[in-house]
């Protein structure tokens, strides 16, 4: 591990980006207005499944203000949207990858599927015209539930995917697992559903596409988490445009949570159309469109079995999961319930053998893809709910059953492919129990009982794998993209620095955290460092932000570039100080000849690099600008324990969170304030999943029943408590920052912690089964069923 001088590291530096947001001066995509701009509106299928026998756009094209109307028939030479990860079926065949047309071709396969693009002078005119488009639909039976989709006789969604199956995939040693179950003293069985979610970043997706005849180039402003990936997929796979002729700018982005990783139909169609209409085109989703067409999250149906010996030691875990892909494969859909899910099923435990089989299927619903946590919350939910149930069944306290099975020696090879580099699970559990005041729980529970309320305490000891890597291993597992990150450190003549990073910040505070790293390393004021991201025209390359990778991967790329800057600075200093390069030390912003007081400040070196009068031009290029690409050697493994305490009102089924305590190990922390903020936000989203959020399609019609915030409940301020958050540190062993990632942890640990607390509370009234969300209605029903 490289030494990081303390400097700004570990300081809760207030964020550099905040001023523009607080003053109303942020620039989000919908704030971009270009001269002569037109407006796009997408006509969407009102049916979940329908043959499109014809589309008559004649009237619409003549409507006031209309510039163009396009349907799939117009998209000659445009390919379908690609999926970025190939999963191989257990039978050795590749997953079924039906075409994912930019505009529906022949069939509409979910409510909200894009049928036509209308471009008009105003948004109202585009909408008015869309109402004049006559689509001749032949409505077909629809299937929205993933288990139903795999049943014989289910409506067939794609010709290319018989029985609606995308793939069956498996990991682990099945016969070893079976053998372990045969000699188990106790087997715990669990059937659970991981509820489907709609991400709901508060900024809806938006795009502005424009074309320039001057140089045959395109510019796309888009609310996106990885503009280079967006450009690569769009140009190389779909539109066949030269990559260098397309500039993608993801300006300020109002939250992503995964939903803005993907290449969507809307912006793709708009880039294509911008050349045809030769004017800028703007589109901003209305929230109801977001509900219909943003990639959704989760939607797993799982049966799990845990084998234990008589002392509660885990012997084997067997899991079968059915995963809903939606109507088409979104950009990373296929790897979520496989690579990012089943590989996490060892959790924090020494379970010697694990076997998991996953069947993914198509349904008449919006595509499903990564949502905060992406596979890892689903895995943690399976493990931690079954561990809770096993502890309850065997009468082993919840902390104890976990302690009996914790991994304590590292590195640790799990039976499901991952190699954990480091961790300290007892420390997080101990600390979480301390801040949750577990000791006082019994008294609080009996006090609640006196008031007619049911108290429960729930644990979740989670682990996640972040900064997915290395690229070659991922490639061998089916990834169709690299998983490195790029960084550039541009030192200006006067010694201030602009950093260009391929990571994208849409709330994570990179402009501050990365500046802290740079300012510390270079020994310069943090005000002298600016961070640029989100623009393929300015940043050299980038894989973007997802999977809690930004600091561990993107930050490391910057550190690698900084190493090069310092190395070159030493050469310049050696020349100026007439000393051997090996004698130059760099510390606190000064290049010093070791053992002397002869030194040059960082700014003097940068000036010399750009005004190379006294400079070794024969041996060294002028300038001070370095780039680095970093491809990690392994994942990072953040882990921790979350403890939730709830009180249930049996009269109404209302679950109140009394307290939520989290102790996480994210490795080294650059900015504790930002890290805590990430945890708070993750916890709230996980609590949302566990208590409130549930995306529901009508099983007959396939209509989206929770199509607005009137019916889909997002957590509000009064739904959640203030959180108790602590951290423990075991530094990541394979990146120079020792950082692991913190963006998703909260959303991973909190759903099982909360649900285990609810199950604990309801155990006294005999409830043995409850799926998320623990809404008042469901909790009340569970109590009634148990009493009946």
């Amino acid at each position: 591990m490289g030494a990081i001088e303390s400097g700004f590291i570990g300081q809760s530096v207030r964020r550099k980006e905040d001023a523009r947001f607080l003053l109303g001066a942020g620039q989000y995509t919908d704030d971009v207005t270009l001269p002569n701009q037109t407006h796009a509106y997408f006509l969407r299928s009102p049916h979940a499944h329908a043959k499109i026998r014809g589309i008559d756009t004649g009237k619409a094209k003549k409507a006031p203000g209309v510039i163009a109307v396009y349907t799939s028939a117009d998209l000659e030479g445009v390919n379908g949207l690609p999926c970025g990860w190939l999963i191989t079926d257990v039978d050795g065949t590749p997953m079924k990858e039906p075409p994912h047309p930019v505009l529906a071709k022949g069939k509409a396969r979910y409510v909200g599927d894009h049928v036509a693009l209308v471009i008009a002078e105003t948004q109202n005119q585009a909408k008015d015209a869309a109402e004049l488009i006559d689509v001749d639909y032949e409505v077909l039976p629809a299937v929205v539930n993933v288990v139903d989709a795999l049943k014989p006789g289910a409506p067939q969604i794609h010709d290319e995917a018989p029985g609606n199956k995308c793939y069956t995939w498996a990991i682990g040693d099945k016969s070893a697992v079976d053998a372990a179950f045969a000699k188990a003293a106790h087997v715990t069985k669990l059937d659970i559903v991981n509820n489907r979610l709609v991400p709901n970043a508060i900024e809806p997706r938006a795009a502005v596409a424009t074309y320039s005849r001057a140089d045959d180039s395109y510019t796309l402003y888009v609310a996106n988490q990885n503009p280079h990936v967006e450009r690569l997929l769009m140009t190389a796979f779909v539109l066949g445009l030269p990559e260098h002729k397309v500039r993608v700018i993801a300006p300020d982005v109002g939250g992503g949570f995964g939903s803005k990783i993907y290449l969507y139909a809307e912006e793709t169609a708009m880039v294509w159309a911008s050349k045809r209409v030769n004017r800028p085109i703007k589109w901003a989703a209305e929230r109801s469109e977001s509900f219909l067409s943003d990639a959704h999250g989760r939607d797993h149906v799982t049966h799990a079995e845990l084998a234990l010996d008589k002392d509660g030691k885990f012997l084997a875990l067997r899991v079968h999961t059915t995963a809903n892909m939606g109507a088409y494969l979104s950009t990373f859909a296929s790897c979520i319930p496989t690579i990012l899910y089943a590989t996490l099923l060892a959790g924090q435990y020494t379970t010697p053998v694990v076997y998991c089989e996953v069947t993914a299927a198509f349904t008449n619903t919006a595509p499903v893809d990564a949502y905060r946590g992406a596979g890892r919350p689903e895995a943690t939910y399976v493990i931690e709910r079954i561990v809770h149930q096993a502890g309850a069944e065997m009468g082993i306290p919840q902390d104890e059953i976990r302690r009996r099975n914790f991994i304590r020696t590292f590195p640790y090879q799990t039976p499901v492919a991952l190699l954990y580099d480091t961790g300290g699970y007892d420390a997080c559990l101990d600390e979480a129990m301390r801040i949750a005041d577990v000791k006082g729980f019994a008294a609080r529970k009996s006090d609640a009982a006196k008031r007619g309320k049911l108290r429960g305490l729930g644990y979740a000891a989670y682990i996640e794998a972040c900064g997915i890597a290395p690229s070659n291993v991922a490639g061998s597992l089916g990834a169709r993209a690299g998983l490195f990150e790029a960084g550039e450190v541009r030192v200006h003549p006067t010694g201030s620095v602009t950093v260009f990073t391929g990571s994208h910040s849409h709330g994570q505070g990179h402009e501050t955290t990365f500046a802290q790293v740079v300012a510390t390393r270079l020994g310069i004021p943090i005000e002298n460092v600016d961070v640029v991201h989100g623009d393929t025209g300015r940043v050299l390359f980038g894989m973007g932000t997802y999977g809690s990778r930004s600091l561990a991967v993107g930050g490391t790329a910057i550190v690698k570039a900084l190493d090069k800057v310092i190395a070159k600075g030493k050469k310049i200093a050696a020349h100026l100080l007439e000393a051997a390069e090996s004698d130059i030390e760099f510390k606190d912003g000064k290049f010093t000849v070791a053992g002397t007081d002869r030194s040059k400040a960082f700014g003097e070196i940068s000036l010399a690099a750009y005004v190379p009068h006294n400079y070794p031009l024969d041996k060294l290029e002028p300038g001070l600008n370095e780039t680095a690409f970093y491809d990690p050697t392994n994942f990072t493994f953040p882990a921790g324990t979350h403890i939730c305490e709830v009180e249930v009102d049996p009269d109404t089924g209302v679950v109140s969170i009394v307290s939520f305590s989290a102790c996480d190990d994210f490795g080294n922390i650059i900015n504790p304030m930002i890290v805590e903020g990430q945890v708070h936000g993750g916890l709230c989203q996980g609590i949302g999943q566990a208590m409130l959020e549930h995306c529901i399609y009508d099983s007959e019609s396939g209509q989206l029943l929770t199509g607005s915030l009137m019916d889909y409940a997002l957590p509000r301020a009064d739904d959640v408590p203030s959180f108790k958050v602590e951290t423990k540190v075991t530094p990541c062993t394979h990146n120079p920052l020792g950082a692991k990632g913190c963006g998703e942890a909260g959303a991973i640990g909190s759903p099982p912690a909360l649900m285990n607390a609810v199950m604990d509370a309801l155990s006294s009234v005999g409830v043995t089964h409850l799926d998320m969300p623990a809404s008042p209605h469901r909790v009340w029903q569970a109590i009634q069923s148990a009493r009946a």
Binding site: N124, K127, D128, S288, D651, T652, G653, L692, I696, L705, T706, L709, M710, D711, Y712, A713, L714, D719, S775, P776, H777, W780, Q781, Q784
Partner: protein, 264 residues
């Protein structure tokens, strides 16, 4: 939004004339109407904005009644010392409608004219046996609400005020829909000046209704336990993804009990 004409009359008479001649819709605070128009779910040819008619706002006591002008905003009801003194339950109810921003625009008249099945005000109007005053007549609460989004109002009839006879005791208990925060079930319980008891329920059915078994129980014993003990029939109650009819029926008793407890 579809196109529409906009008028801003200064007097009630002009507003009525505008409605009669255009077949348009009155605009009060617009918190439901503008939302519906945005989603293209409502398409009035003309909007007659009532905000210029000063006589429609205001809160006053008239004898044994509290009279609230139709254009009085929820937030003003919630903050009104007159309301808090006369019928504090109305202030509590108004303070729980929508959210702060909605309460700052939305009005009593707009709410009851819209008659959303999950709105709060209809429960208060019915339970207090209030009278809805319009530019044409006075309508008893029991005759005003006709069904889901339906009222007794004629096309050019404008609510001017609602007169609430001051009850002996009253309270409102609402169980919010976790998403919209409209009432999944809201129960307004009032013990009227003549001693009779009314319990009006919103959110549970296609329109506000009086829960007769609860009223009977409370007439005998105005206690939380009496209300809670009533088994409400689930027949005819809403059954949707937010709550089964059985759950709503159960909540009617629970919320009635809580309202009685709050009424003191």
């Amino acid at each position: 939004m579809y196109t529409f004409e906009y008028q801003l009359p200064k007097t009630l008479a002009d507003a009525a004339k505008a409605l009669a001649s255009t077949g348009g819709k009155p605009l009060a605070g617009g918190q439901s109407l503008v939302a519906a128009m945005k989603l293209r779910l409502a398409q009035p040819g003309t909007l007659v904005d009532l905000r210029g008619i000063s006589e429609l706002a205001g809160i006053r006591k008239e004898g044994d009644a509290l009279v609230i002008g139709a254009m009085t905003r929820h937030a003003d009801v919630a903050n009104s010392a007159v309301v808090k003194g006369a019928i504090p339950a109305l202030a509590v109810l108004a303070d729980g409608i929508g959210d702060r921003q909605v309460r700052n625009m939305g009005t009593l008249g707009g709410s009851i004219a819209n008659n959303d099945p999950a709105a709060d005000w209809p429960a208060a109007v019915v339970a207090c046996n209030a009278t809805v005053q319009t530019n044409k007549r006075k309508i008893a609460a029991g005759d005003f609400f006709k069904g889901m989004y339906e009222t007794a109002l004629g096309a050019d009839e404008i609510i001017t005020a609602v007169s609430f006879p001051i009850p002996k005791k009253a309270a409102y208990a609402k169980f919010p829909n976790p998403a919209s925060r409209f009432a999944l079930v809201g129960v307004f319980v009032a013990q009227l000046a003549d001693g009779s008891v009314r319990a009006a329920v919103t959110g549970a059915a296609p329109a506000v209704f009086r829960a007769a078994p609860i009223e009977t129980a409370l007439a005998k014993s105005f206690t939380p336990d009496a209300a809670k003990a009533v088994k409400v029939d689930a027949k005819g109650l809403n059954n949707d993804l937010h709550g089964s009819a059985a759950y709503r029926a159960h909540l009617v008793s629970v919320m009635a009990g809580r309202a009685v407890a709050a009424a003191g």
